[in-house]
Symmetry: C2
Subunit: 180 residues, 2 copies
C-alpha cells in the first residue's frame, strides 16, 4: 500500500455550546500535532446562526488543513431533552460538514477515547488533557474541549487507523427522494 501523504485526522468533540476540534498527522506510528481549538456559538444566538457557525467553521478547517479522515465523539444523551436536542442539532451540523466534503467519519465513545489516551475508562478531563500534552509533546495545554478533539483524533490513529467503527461517510448511496 502506498500513501501519497500522511494520514491526517480531524477529531471533533461536539457540544451544544462548544465544539472542540483537533487535527493530527500520523507519521509512521506517531501522532503529530497540527492544530486544535474550539468553535464557540453565541449562547443567545438564534438556531440557524449557531448551526451556521459550526458547519461553516468545520468546512473552513477542512479546506485549510485537508484532513483525509475524521473522528467524532459519540455523545451521551442528556437528562434534559432540550439539551439533547440541541446537542443532536450541533452534532448533525458537524457531521453534515464532514460528509459534504466526502470525508469518512468514524465514531468513538468517551470510554474508548479515555481508554486509548489514558489507558482506563475512568479518567477525568484533566487526565485526558495531560496525556494529550504528553503524547503530542505540546509546549502548552490546550483548552479542555480542544484537548478532547485531539484525544478523539488520537484514538482514531491508535485504532489500527480506524478500521473499526466506520460510519460510512464515503458511501452515501441509497435513500430515496420521492417527488409528490
Amino acid at each position: 500500500m502506498t500513501r501519497t501523504r500522511p494520514l491526517r485526522i480531524l477529531g471533533i468533540d461536539p457540544g451544544s455550546r462548544t465544539t472542540g476540534f483537533g487535527i493530527i498527522d500520523l507519521i509512521g506510528r506517531e501522532p503529530v500535532y497540527i492544530t486544535s481549538g474550539c468553535i464557540k456559538t453565541i449562547p443567545n444566538d438564534e438556531l440557524a446562526g449557531r448551526i451556521g457557525i459550526i458547519v461553516r467553521h468545520i468546512t473552513e478547517l477542512i479546506d485549510q488543513y485537508r484532513p483525509n479522515q475524521t473522528a467524532i465523539e459519540k455523545v451521551f444523551v442528556n437528562v434534559n431533552p432540550s439539551s439533547t436536542l440541541m446537542l443532536g442539532q450541533s452534532r448533525g451540523a458537524a457531521i453534515a460538514a464532514l460528509v459534504l466534503r466526502d470525508l469518512p467519519v468514524y465514531e468513538y465513545t468517551a470510554l474508548q477515547v479515555k481508554q486509548a489516551v489514558v489507558g482506563h475508562g475512568k479518567a477525568d478531563k484533566k487526565q485526558v488533557q495531560h496525556m494529550v500534552v504528553q503524547m503530542l509533546k505540546l509546549s502548552g495545554t490546550p483548552q479542555a474541549d480542544a484537548a478532547d478533539g485531539l484525544a478523539v483524533a488520537i484514538t482514531h490513529a491508535l485504532h489500527g487507523q480506524g478500521l473499526a467503527n466506520k460510519l460510512g461517510g464515503l458511501n452515501i448511496k441509497g435513500g430515496r427522494l420521492q417527488n409528490k
Copy 2:
C-alpha cells in the same frame, strides 16, 4: 418594494427517519404548489450515511428549485432520549443545508402550523393533509410528511411573509474560532 420573482418557500418537517418537504410560490396572497416529497433515510444505515442523504438532498432541492425563504417545523422532544438525539441530528443537518445556501430560516411550532392551515391547534394529520390539498388545489393527496412540509411553507406564507420568528439564517456573524 419591488420583487424580481415571487416569494418561493421551502417548508421542511424534520423527522428522525423521514424528512418531509414542500415548495410553494406565493403569488399575490395565494400559495401555489411547486413540488413536495419525502427524504427517507435507510433505517439501518450508518449515521454519516443518513446525515449525508438529508443534507445532500436538501441541497439538491435548493439548487433545482431556488427557494428564497425556508421554514422548518419546531420539533417535540421525544420521551426517548436517543430518538431525540437522532431527531436533533437530522434537523441540524437540514438546517446546515439551508444556511450553507445563505437562505433565511424561519421556525414554526406544530401548533402554529395547525392553526394556520386548519384554523385550530387540535387538528390531526389527516385534517392537515385535507386542508393542504384544498388550499393548493391539488388533484391528489401528498404523503403525510410531504403534506406537513407543504403545511409549514403555507404557514410561513400566511405569517405576513414570515416577519415573525426569524431564525437569522442570513446573519451568520459572530462565533469564535480559536486556534490552540
